[in-house]
């Protein structure tokens, strides 16, 4: 066998129907919340709240509908890698855009 220790066969874990329904309900409620939150003027925090709610929803989908909660560590590493690489792309690109106006003299 391979040297892996997680051989609890994640796919054999059966998620209870009630949990799925609960997640679904939470997602619907969060959708309502995000529409509601958008109707208030929170200034800079509108985007923060919106992304926060979206991330909660996304996490629920990934953890429960996509079974990440019951999957191998390797799968978890894959998801984290995706987030990390997106973070690299966004943040390093923004270092350019956010600092362009700091100095106006030529290089």
């Amino acid at each position: 066998m391979t040297t892996k220790t997680e051989h609890i066969a994640p796919e054999s874990h059966i998620v209870p129907i009630s949990l799925y329904i609960g997640i679904w309900a939470t997602l619907i409620i969060c959708t309502g919340l995000t529409v509601l939150a958008a109707s208030f003027d929170l200034g800079i925090f509108n985007i923060v709240v919106a992304l926060l709610i979206a991330t909660i929803k996304g996490s629920l989908v990934v953890l429960f509908f996509m079974h990440l909660r019951y999957s191998t560590k390797l799968t978890m590493v894959t998801v984290i890698a995706a987030l990390f690489w997106l973070f690299i792309m966004f943040s390093l690109t923004l270092t350019d855009y956010m600092t362009r106006h700091w100095v106006t003299s030529v290089l």
């Binding site: 054999s12 059966i14 799925y20 679904w24 979206a54 996304g58 996509m66 690489w85 966004f90």
Partner: protein, 210 residues
């Protein structure tokens, strides 16, 4: 069989990783231009129909539920239930595309498709702050939702293939790998929309359809 299912599942997760980076490029573009041209984006976003968008979000969430339950049905040896649930998933998917089509039609009629015939009018007929930059907003709207819709179409095709195979009793608790991995793909497409909706529709507190 377990070993093979784990391998296939890992393969699908890797593929989804590539999809995240694929959409990621568009999100990065969105991020840059929204930070540069916020007011123009606000004005563009006001022309979105939030109720249709929110409905679509709910439709996709329901489709994810039916998909997850469908995978569970395959896992617990209920092939007929699986087929029913997958058909429901397809119906939700088609519903999403239908609503999207209505929205696209409306935007098209309003000259909100970028290119030669683009002509932007704000929601309350005030002067447009920066039509060129709002055109970029709409370009991103069409590109991102269009790419998403294309993935939905592919997803519906994949689920339909599962239905056909399921009718032939191809899946059982000891072999339901294709159902599981198509499920992963489907949920991913839902996940993308979960981010698209607030970013495209909810930038401003004033919006269309309300």
């Amino acid at each position: 069989m377990e070993q093979q299912q784990e391998t296939a599942t890992f393969g699908m997760w890797m593929f989804l990783l590539t999809e995240i980076m694929f959409f990621g490029g568009l999100f990065c573009t969105y991020l840059v231009y929204r930070s540069l041209y916020y007011e123009a984006f606000v004005q563009g976003s006001q022309k979105m129909n939030v109720w249709l968008g929110a409905t679509n979000t709910a439709v996709l969430i329901c489709s994810s539920l039916s998909m997850a339950l469908g995978v569970r049905a395959a896992q617990t040896g209920k092939p007929k239930l699986m087929v029913v649930l997958l058909l429901i998933t397809i119906l939700f998917g088609l519903g999403f595309l239908g609503i999207k089509g209505i929205e696209y039609h409306e935007h098209w009629e309003n000259h909100e498709f970028p290119g030669q015939n683009f002509h932007f009018e704000t929601l309350d007929k005030t002067p447009a702050i920066d039509p060129a930059h709002t055109e970029i907003y709409f370009s991103l709207y069409w590109a991102m939702t269009g790419l998403h819709a294309l993935h939905m179409v592919i997803g519906i095709g994949l689920v339909a293939w599962l239905v056909i195979a399921g009718l032939r009793r191809a899946y059982s608790p000891s072999y339901f790998t294709p159902v599981e991995i198509v499920g992963l793909y489907w949920h991913f497409v839902d996940l993308v929309w979960i981010y698209l909706f607030p970013l495209l529709y909810l930038i401003s507190k004033k919006h269309g359809g309300g």
